[in-house]
Structure formats: structure tokens, C-alpha cells
Symmetry: C2
Subunit: 200 residues, 2 copies
């Protein structure tokens, strides 16, 4: 029993190595290449460790936030990354990812399958303060990357300041101070020409 | 005060993006390229989440293990990765990394600087059951990558089975069952020719 359990866990650990080959539109801050979803997940976990004090609700469970951000993109092993500003791709993303989650997590022993599925659903539904905080970090991180690459991915895909604000403003639900901070550097990005000006 | 605190935290978060550009000798399991230290750290955190039940001591604090593996390689932003089987490089590694840790963690607010430094020192000294377990995962993960790439990095660097066993056997201190498991696939790797046979 134990040997089978460990074999399943190791098989899952081997399978998820593929997340390192799923590339996002975001560029690394040195612009050398696109970021992959595994290193992105690590970066979010580091942010959760450092920024927990800015969560909208006091005394959130930072460990659960970290679990969520570590696993939130695993489904992309099957679906690939869906660009955040791609409306058509975003429309059927939930269903594609739900199926991918089922197929992936079933590799695990039943107790861990259930735990991972619940964490992933919690993240997706933003139904708890931990999930809203995790989602806020997942939005803030690419904003930082865009800002520090003079808007490389924004410009490449013709993303406007209006889109950036409307698609990211729910950072405020998870971490109001971080949204204040983000709004400030979005304004600065517009002034510096990293991001197309709002229609006036 | 708060604005300065957040600015320091964000500056640190921007700085550590560089870990994604620190490459290890290990190949990804699809052999497409070398692994970087940020995605490696993510992988270890996932392993900690899944394999905590195999820790040598019962009821370890898995959250602390995850914190340690998330930050354990940050010093490589300055020092680069030191190949595990490079004896000369390993000899002065502790001192080089200690200086790098000081220079990096000082970017953080004092309370978080102190927390990160303690976690990093705990990991390095393997002074607690959590640190011994974290170190065991840090050894097991590249073994899995070598096994699943037919020993690509081992063969490239002329690593022998004796070296693999002697340098990795302290996995047993952190997770005895995982060392039993690793020993089995090291033997299998020798049989399959992924790893040079022990002198007989």
C-alpha cells in the first residue's frame, strides 16, 4: 500500500515537471525570455510570504495562500497558458481547466487528490479571503513584470490602460493597499509611454 | 513608514526575479534545457506539500519546510549555482553564500530580513527535522531528473554511482523511506547504464 502510494506521488511529481515548459506572455524582468508557469508560481509563493500583511482580511492563513499559488497553474500542463487579455480564450478557460484538473489530480492518492482539487477550486472561485489574496498576487506579479520591462508584453499585444485597470481592479478585493500601489505605477506607466493612454 | 516598507518588499520581489536566470546542471525531464533555480524551488515546494508524511520525525511543520525550500537558493542570484559534485566549488560555497545572503536579505524590512536569514541558516545547518527533510527533498529532486533523463547530467560530468550514493545518503536523515526509494532507482540506473558502475 505504502509503496503504491509513494509511486503515485512520485509519478505526479515527475508529471508536473512539464509546467516548466509552459510559457506565459510575460517577460522576465531582464527581458531575456518569456516566463514559464513554474517559476511564476514560485514568485507568487515568495510574494505571499512577504506581503501577507496587506491581505484585505486580518489573520489570513498564509500557508493556504501558498498552497493555492503553488498549484494554481498546474492545469496549464494540459491547456497551456491563456493570455489574460484574450477574451475568446478566457471565455472557455474555466471549462477546459476544470477537465484538465480532473485528469491531473486523479494521479494522486485519493486524499491528496481531494485536497488539491479543493484548493484549486477555492482559488478559481475566489470564495475565501485567502483565495482573493492569492488572486490579487497573481494579478500584481505580471503588472510588476510589465512595468519593469517598459511594458514589453502590453505593447506586443496592444493592451490599453483601460484593459489593465478593468481586468486587475479586483486586486482591491484581496489586498486594497496593493491595488493602491498598482494604480500608482499603472499611471506612471501611462506617463512613461509603456502603456497606451486611456481614451479621453 | 508603510509606504517605505512596501517599497522595500517590492524591491526585493523585483530583485529575486533574477533567480529565474540562474541555471543548474540538471536537465528538465524532457531534456529540452537546463533547469533554473526558481522553478527548481517551486518543484521542491510541491514535493514538500506531497511528501511530508515521509519525514523522519512525525508532525513536522510543513509550512516551515516550504518556506525554507522557497528561499534556499536565493543566494545563487549572486554566487550562481555550485555543481553538487564539484569538490573545489563546494569547499568555499558556505562562505560565499553567507556573504550573498547578508547582501540580499538586507533589502528587506528588518523583521523579514531576520526571518529569512534564520530560515536560510536553519536550512544550511540542517539543525532541525524540518531542515533535514527540506535538504532530503533538495537531494531527491535532481536524482529524479537524472533518472528520467537517462542520467544526462551524471554522464555529462562523469559522476559515478559511488559519488551519487555518498553525497546523497543523508537523505536518510530527513526521510528514510525516500532514501530507500532513491537507493532502488540508483541501483536501477546503474543496471540500465545511466550511471557508471561502482568499482568492484
Amino acid at each position: 500500500m505504502t509503496a503504491d502510494r509513494l509511486a503515485r506521488q512520485i509519478r505526479f511529481i515527475v508529471e508536473i515537471d512539464k509546467l516548466k515548459g509552459v510559457f506565459r506572455r510575460t517577460y522576465l524582468m531582464d527581458r531575456s525570455r518569456h516566463e514559464n508557469s513554474a517559476e511564476h508560481s514560485w514568485h507568487l509563493a515568495m510574494m505571499a510570504l512577504l506581503l501577507g500583511e496587506y491581505a484585505a482580511e486580518r489573520d489570513i492563513d498564509v500557508f493556504r495562500v501558498i498552497k493555492m499559488v503553488l498549484i494554481h497553474d498546474l492545469v496549464e500542463i494540459e491547456t497551456g497558458d491563456t493570455f489574460f487579455y484574450d477574451q475568446a480564450g478566457q471565455a472557455d478557460r474555466p471549462e477546459r481547466e476544470r477537465l484538465a484538473a480532473e485528469r491531473l489530480f486523479v494521479l494522486l492518492p485519493a486524499d491528496q487528490e481531494s485536497e488539491f482539487r479543493k484548493l484549486w477550486e477555492e482559488f478559481e472561485s475566489r470564495s475565501t479571503s485567502e483565495a482573493r489574496f492569492a488572486a490579487a498576487l497573481d494579478r500584481l506579479q505580471p503588472l510588476l513584470h510589465n512595468y519593469h520591462t517598459q511594458g514589453a508584453a502590453w505593447r506586443e499585444h496592444g493592451v490599453t490602460a483601460e484593459q489593465v485597470i478593468s481586468r486587475n481592479r479586483h486586486i482591491a478585493e484581496g489586498a486594497p493597499q496593493l491595488w493602491d500601489y498598482a494604480e500608482r505605477f499603472i499611471r506612471d506607466a501611462v506617463e512613461k509611454g509603456y502603456l497606451t493612454k486611456l481614451n479621453t
